[in-house]
Symmetry: D4
Subunit: 225 residues, 8 copies
């Protein structure tokens, strides 16, 4: 076989394996979805190609609910859990081009049954855009910032709120940003505190962290996923 699925993960970690579709054949993706579906619960796949999406749709579209986000390149097979009755995760982007990463985070929250909301293109070059949304942001439990270039957003955010912040640097930029390295270093070196960082463009990873945090505050919610 090409895989040894970790079917015990929900018991240990509170959530099932998620399929990282990059580099897998469409047939492999379908086969893994099938095995994971047998456990009950919905199945999330990230970084899907059009071809993978198409084959998953034709394999499961008849019986299962399918949620496809083309921009995020995610697919959810089966009904996701109803969102927990909790303060939402707030996903905030600095620019327009950070949107796909932010949407990957959003799909992940859906699959994990945590409420989430999205605020787009409020980078620090026009501060009033961010300050104008501060009330909404302050009502959320955890904030995910999604920003490329020099990624100043988490630093500014860190000085404005009490909630924990998860910074996602993105590979958005021009010139010597080195595929997001400049943004990554910025997040790690943020002068404000209360910030932890995930890998470049890793919207999924940020959302899992956020969901684990939210589940902590609302202990009964993740079990359903």
């Amino acid at each position: 076989g090409f895989a040894t699925l970790d079917l015990d993960r929900p018991r240990r970690c509170g959530a099932a394996e998620v399929i990282f579709a990059e580099g897998k054949t469409p047939e492999q993706v379908v086969a893994i979805v099938r095995t994971l579906r047998e456990q009950g619960g919905c199945v999330l796949a990230t970084r899907c190609t059009d071809e993978q999406v198409a084959m998953v749709q034709s394999a499961f579209g008849g019986n299962d609910q399918l949620l496809v986000d083309a921009l995020a390149r995610t697919i959810i097979v089966g009904d996701p859990p109803a969102p927990a009755d909790a303060a939402p995760v707030c996903i905030v982007t600095a620019g327009t081009s950070d949107l796909p990463v932010a949407r990957e985070a959003l799909s992940t929250c859906v699959a994990y049954g945590q409420p989430a909301e999205l605020i787009v293109d409020v980078g620090v070059a026009g501060l009033h855009r961010l300050l104008g949304r501060l009330d909404t942001i302050k009502r959320s439990s955890v904030v995910i910032t999604v920003a490329g270039m020099e990624a100043a957003l988490p630093s500014v955010m860190g000085g404005l709120i009490e909630a924990p912040i998860i910074a996602v640097p993105t590979s958005v930029g021009y010139g010597s940003h080195f595929e997001g390295l400049a943004a990554l270093l910025s997040c790690l070196n943020a002068c404000a505190s209360g910030i932890a960082t995930v890998n470049i463009d890793n919207g999924f990873g940020a959302a899992v962290m956020a969901c684990r945090i939210n589940a902590l505050a609302h202990p009964n919610t993740v079990e359903a996923s």
Copy 2:
């Protein structure tokens, strides 16, 4: 003046400024402690030299309670808040040399009024050491891993528990670890999920993130600091 203190921070972020003592004169440290003490609440200083500690002790030792951790190089002036009645933050190190960073995290939790506990030298080269402490770890709300070299600890931890994990890479190692860069890249690329990373040796930053998370689950606790 040499500083513009951010006295409004407790209102916005739920906790006062912390003094990063590196590169400051002992006189500057004393002056900043004095101003911050006027707000009430205890004052935390990190990365202190012996000389800075001595001058702070002679300036405040008469009236205030002082908590000095020589290994962590931290000092707390004034009574810290009583620890919240909550599940503790669990700080776990891979080796003996990671201890100073772990202790900086511990002092920070004390100053922020969050309960914390420390498990030392349970790196993955002898798995039974980690597995033998798993019950304790699972009773905590957030886990901070402190590991240098190849920093495999957060990956293994991520597959064993449900709680959010904050990974602190350390500059511990020999050969081409590049002052902790190998460990940092490992944390960012961990194959397990539910992990976010702070900068190399940044025990303070990890603890602030952990305390913000714990305060979320127990909303009344941080206010006291």
Copy 3:
């Protein structure tokens, strides 16, 4: 001519030159196979394109046995030596995407006449998968780990067995792994001992090292190749 083949290598090093097909024309590959076949022994080519495979098949398929592994991108022309009567080399991968590199190692063992076996997708995020195969692993003489991302597998393995371990970092991952550099640094900085590392994705090199080791324990085996 475009090449100066090292026909004396079997006498000095116990095995013939292997063709690294990348960047060679199909005609060049066929010409080199022909010259090496004249020495007797089978001929191994690695990193072959479909076009190279096709031309080798039409040139030699009539007379010689051909072993083609499309995933590994290897081809063996002529009968490989019977595998030595020895404990096998054990090739273990962390994930599904590490399979092509593992299969290049497997083909190399075949061409060198050393027994080998393959264990797939037992990375440390689900430790029970690895622990469940430990008996098999402990019966082998040498272990090759194949792992990308943060490559925690060799560290964990190094603390569980007595055999020498050869670590192959792979360029599998997302974000700031820098084409496998994060995995490479992890392997080099592993906290466990008994581990040596080959270059990123170099399944061939790991297998040659393993075969030299196995031949040492069973001195009569490599001569046949």
Copy 4:
């Protein structure tokens, strides 16, 4: 000789050579000051050690006015030109530790005869500090930002004012900032426009650029230096 002084520079570039004292013996510094003083005009030396300062003081202190800034490690021998009647250069630091670099910039403005003013410790983690000084900043002609760690200050500044901004990244920080590289990349990748960058800790270079700009707006001013 150990040097070929460029005595023609005032004619070509509008200002004399400045002595970069690092790595020079005190005797060499004195010798160069002497030669440059013969041209008339004051002489600026940067990155001076205590020993160099002492020897310059004993050599010239009898006859010439001396301006020594111990924090900036600069010395000006001879009367600097009266500051031009122009809007000032505004030098703004993110933190307390950025002060020496900012003061090197200030000394340079003095030696070049351009008015300058200093605003300290108004980094983005406490935005009100920066916003509270915006009126002053807006009255200046050029702004120099001095910031280490993730250097978010120039990005935020760039979205608030019309004047050209010169960003000086500093080697201030902890963890993986790589001696200021994280700050440097941030400045170069700033999402706001109207920003150009000088090398890490190069307060001198930023000030020369600022003075050339100010002299452009007030063409008669630099000639005096």
Copy 5:
């Protein structure tokens, strides 16, 4: 929505948002142009694909003046302000391949209403070419150097003139230039002073800096844009 346009920017920074077209759909570019046009003033888009240019042309070509520079990949929709009556910005390239970056700078000056002129292929390997144009260069107010490989041009220029210099390193070269990094480091380490640097290939950024400087010397000019 996919964007939160910063319509207040002209008031704060003296010029409107510019569209960075890379990674946007043609429809998104058209939509943003439309919104920005409503403010009055011309609209500049940079890094445009042929497809984006075509769609902008068909959407606005009927009513608005369009200036397209295919080499620079820029488009200006609407009448740019008449150039200020001021000394020009002088854009100088080291080689022929630096031309696209230089032309992006030129288009930006046009959109910002600052006069500019272009001198091409006068790199330091044939010094007489640069020295032969020195009179023209000295009549300009600000100089933008555009150079790849080892980017020696700003250093040599810095020793020849009084005006401020903005250095644009380019990703032009062969071998280990690392996509312009060698040129970037050269600009930052230039031994001459009066130089500030923008990111690799960032002709737009250099021109905005130059225009802000020129506007300072001729305060009434930018308002029109």
Copy 6:
């Protein structure tokens, strides 16, 4: 406590924990030696300071045999196992300055009970030196090359012998070798095969790998340690 010793390691891995003394206090080293000695077998400590050596000598020198190698900075407390009756590990250095690393490898072989021999300063700039020792080298079972600068030694060695080769790059060199990185990359990219690499200056790691290999060919030997 400051440590969680892995006393079960001999059973799992065939050899006890080795003390990496760097960063430990002399008291800690003595305490760990004491605990490990209770298991029987000798105890190896590497990277020892003079002070650590002195305190170990005064604590154990009365009862135990002590082997101290000041150049290698190693100490062995207690009788090492008699060397196995096997072909030796051959440790070969390119230059004189590689000697401390080679001697660390030698001490490790002693502690692990494997025979070893040392050949010094036979780098490729004078090939006859290496070729003159080839007979000796060919009689060994495993070869450890220790080389800095461009580390050409393992490549040349790999084309001359049948035995497996473990390459140790060293931080010996001048100019842009980046603390051994040039040598490390050379070892990983060696054009010859049959080579695996350990981290920079890691003589200990190379020797453990070599001993595991030798123990494989002579299965009864390591048990004694």
Copy 7:
């Protein structure tokens, strides 16, 4: 115009400008060839695409002699000077894949009128191949080594001959060679002396250096070019 040709270069440097065709349109290449041809002497273009070669052939093929090397991607328009009556430049490659770079060097020697000869695939993994050609190599005046991966060839060569050696690292390899960086660092750190290095894959640059050296020993030769 898009270019400022340096027509004075033969007088200053003894040879005309060479066209680096990469990034130029075929029309630009033809135009530059035309201008340079007017000076007399042949014209060399390197890094040509098929399309550029075709257009040069159709523009000049009627009247001028054309020498095209498709592997080297070079074209010489017009009769090159007769080779000087001097010891040849010897170009030696480590592998088959280094051939294109070596052939670029060869074409350059032809255009500069210096005799040259080529030895292919004699890398250090099979030393007898190199030693077998040593007589030929020793009869040459300058040696150019062309080698990728770990580039051990110049080090070994440096210890065998008296002539100056120019090392060309190539981007040939697999795994972490970083586009030739490993080879570049090896060349710069070679333990043998008498070696200088040019940029990765820069066969042209190595040959110009070699021709300048050969012209020095035979002063009348380059003038003709």
Copy 8:
């Protein structure tokens, strides 16, 4: 023994081993000098500490001529060969701080019996300084440029003369020059041709290359050394 001296090198390479003193004990240096002196010819040692110089002086000062250059940190024991009757090697530095590296090159030329001359502090920020010395430079056979920071000197030099140029980047600079890396990349990417590069600060290596070149033009000269 700690060394295997290569006493055959003069026959193969035309010159004896040179002692790289860094990291050797004074006793080792004396012992190697003694052995090399037995071959006849003078002995050169580079990178000597004061202590090494003192011990060499007391061991050989009675009988042998000693040439010590404290700035270069070199020592020549025994009479160097009379300089060849040839055009000199010209060593040119950009700044004052590059002098030690230039002087190491000068001592090496002396030991190798090649005439050399030194021109100091003529960097490109004041072009007239370099142009004023061009006649002298043009009378030499080979030019060594010694330059740190952005190392523009070899590029400018390459466009002015016919002789081969050897570029030595130095670790002189401030800010992000990364111990000379910026200068190294500049030298390798120089837009002029006829330039080859040695490692950072490697004055010795540059001089050996220059002497090999000069010996080629004057074949009878090196033999004496």
